[in-house]
């Protein structure tokens, strides 16, 4: 990698007054043809391009992005990473992802501030405790770390939580010590830089406007910067998957919904973990800058607006107050909405499409960020070899017809339940 970051490069640039830093990736003009084209310059698309170049020797690769790298969902999440899943089709995939996170900074030579501070899921009644123990056992059977903590153990770790609310007393929690948080912007920038250094063209402000398909085979992408021919085109545009798939005449089991995340004004260190409230769908952590970062559920109606409405904000704040009343006088600094590809069973899709040469990476629901590196690994594998990666073999597009659903929550085809 050219311009490799190290303590020596930092010192060298510091000695020169930090005037010598170069852009971290090129801004090339589109070539007329690529071996593989990835649509979507978010975390998943950039990771896919990186692994296409690194693992599969494809260097004539481009990523096209409608806006700028990092402006979509990769910068619109609550930065949590974890692999505390229940189903055999999901755990190996997310554990692969967590292992990739653990080595990511060395892999792409970029400081993503990965912090394995633990993810603690609280439970508040007997049935939730049974479900948490079952989930923890499923994780341990797959070699994933999981611990059940008692109420007393949690009180020792997080004394500021409200343990004795009459409605939702905290009975205990499921802890994944290896879970944590990552600086999400750095993931986008780091993958962009790493892919670029392997020869991938990152084409920003290049919007997909159509797909040229002849005799059932995709041959080119029509973009705002001209026609780009490609032997293989991969779609990694979660949030807008339905719109892009419609360009190829494909209907997806997906609705787009808005999920809002929030950050408070900065505080001294208070929460040293990720804590989720089992009685609502609420999760909170503290950034290194001091702000509390938290979110809850999707608003619950189709949306492409990238901003939520006040009832969902109110519910989020009610959850926060039920969990830790001590933050009641804290002011909210910012909120932002991301558009979620909500699938009908709550699990993603990494698969071929009925159009030859066109591949789909979609349906990440509310949990796409943690999947970023494994999603790139598996989607690159699929695009390069035309067969699914072993840990993503369940993420088929046809599972809605065959019945092989991956419904973690048991919510059925009601995506507000996922």
């Amino acid at each position: 990698m050219t311009n490799r970051f190290s303590i020596f490069s930092l010192l060298k640039h510091a000695a020169r007054g930090n005037t010598g830093w170069a852009p971290q990736w090129r801004t090339p003009e589109p070539k007329p043809e690529y071996d593989a084209l990835v649509v979507g310059g978010g975390g998943h698309g950039l990771a896919t391009a990186y692994f296409l170049a690194k693992n599969h020797g494809l260097h004539n690769v481009a990523v096209i992005e409608r806006g700028l790298v990092g402006q979509g969902n990769v910068g619109r999440n609550t930065t949590i990473i974890r692999s505390n899943y229940l189903l055999p089709g999901n755990i190996p995939f997310y554990e692969t992802s967590l292992k990739l996170w653990e080595n990511l900074e060395q892999e792409i030579n970029y400081n993503a501030m990965i912090s394995q501070r633990g993810v603690l899921n609280l439970f508040h009644n007997d049935s939730q405790r049974d479900a948490a123990i079952r989930r923890g056992n499923a994780m341990r059977l797959h070699g994933v770390d999981a611990e059940i903590l008692s109420r007393a153990q949690i009180r020792a770790l997080h004394p500021f939580l409200d343990f004795d609310t009459a409605r939702f007393p905290i009975m205990g929690g499921l802890l994944q010590p290896r879970g944590g948080t990552v600086r999400h912007d750095a993931v986008a920038w780091g993958f962009a830089r790493a892919a670029d250094s392997l020869g991938v063209d990152i084409l920003q402000n290049c919007e997909l406007q159509g797909l040229r398909i002849e005799q059932g085979k995709v041959i080119a992408a029509e973009t705002s910067r001209g026609t780009i021919r490609a032997k293989k085109i991969g779609l990694a545009v979660a949030g807008n998957s339905s719109r892009v798939a419609a360009m190829a005449g494909i209907r997806l089991p997906i609705e787009s919904h808005v999920l809002t995340a929030f950050v408070s004004e900065g505080l001294k260190p208070l929460i040293n973990s990720v804590i989720t409230f089992g009685a609502g769908h609420f999760y909170i952590s503290q950034s290194d800058k001091g702000g509390l970062v938290f979110g809850a559920s999707v608003d619950g109606y189709n949306s492409y607006a990238q901003r939520g409405n006040l009832p969902a904000m109110e519910e989020t704040c009610e959850d926060a107050m039920a969990l830790m009343p001590s933050i009641g006088r804290l002011r909210m600094l910012r909120s932002w909405g991301g558009i979620m590809d909500m699938t009908m069973d709550g699990s993603p899709i990494i698969d071929k499409t009925p159009v030859e040469g066109l591949y789909l990476n979609a349906g990440w629901c509310i949990g796409g960020f943690k999947a970023t590196p494994a999603s790139g690994l598996c989607f690159a594998h699929l695009m390069a070899r035309d067969e699914p990666h072993a840990v993503a073999a369940s993420y088929r597009l046809d599972r809605f017809a065959t019945g092989a659903l991956l419904d973690e929550s048991g919510g059925g085809a009601d995506l507000v339940m996922h």
């Binding site: 089991p253 189709n302 409405n309």
Partner: protein, 81 residues
């Protein structure tokens, strides 16, 4: 968002529950399974005007058909379902 319920008038969205795409037509019980897959799982999911059902749970308990722009959340029209 505020919805003009055809029965009750102008109300807050909090009074309503979302029931999704109003254009889906339930197949006959004996229809081809592919039609059922389409009905249960597949969605047009448009960016723009979306015809959808909201249930006025906290008031008249009637279904309302709403046309809403999914890019702006603007309610374009409401009608009896």
């Amino acid at each position: 968002m505020r919805v003009t319920c055809p029965f009750c008038g102008d109300r807050s969205i909090e009074e309503f529950s979302y029931f999704g795409d109003a254009t889906l037509a339930r197949p006959d019980a004996g229809a081809d399974p592919a039609l059922w897959v389409d009905y249960v799982y597949m969605r047009a999911n448009p960016a723009g005007s979306h015809s959808e059902l909201w249930y006025h749970a906290s008031a008249c308990r009637q279904f309302v058909k709403v046309a809403r722009d999914t890019r702006t959340h603007a309610i374009l029209s409401t009608d009896f379902a």
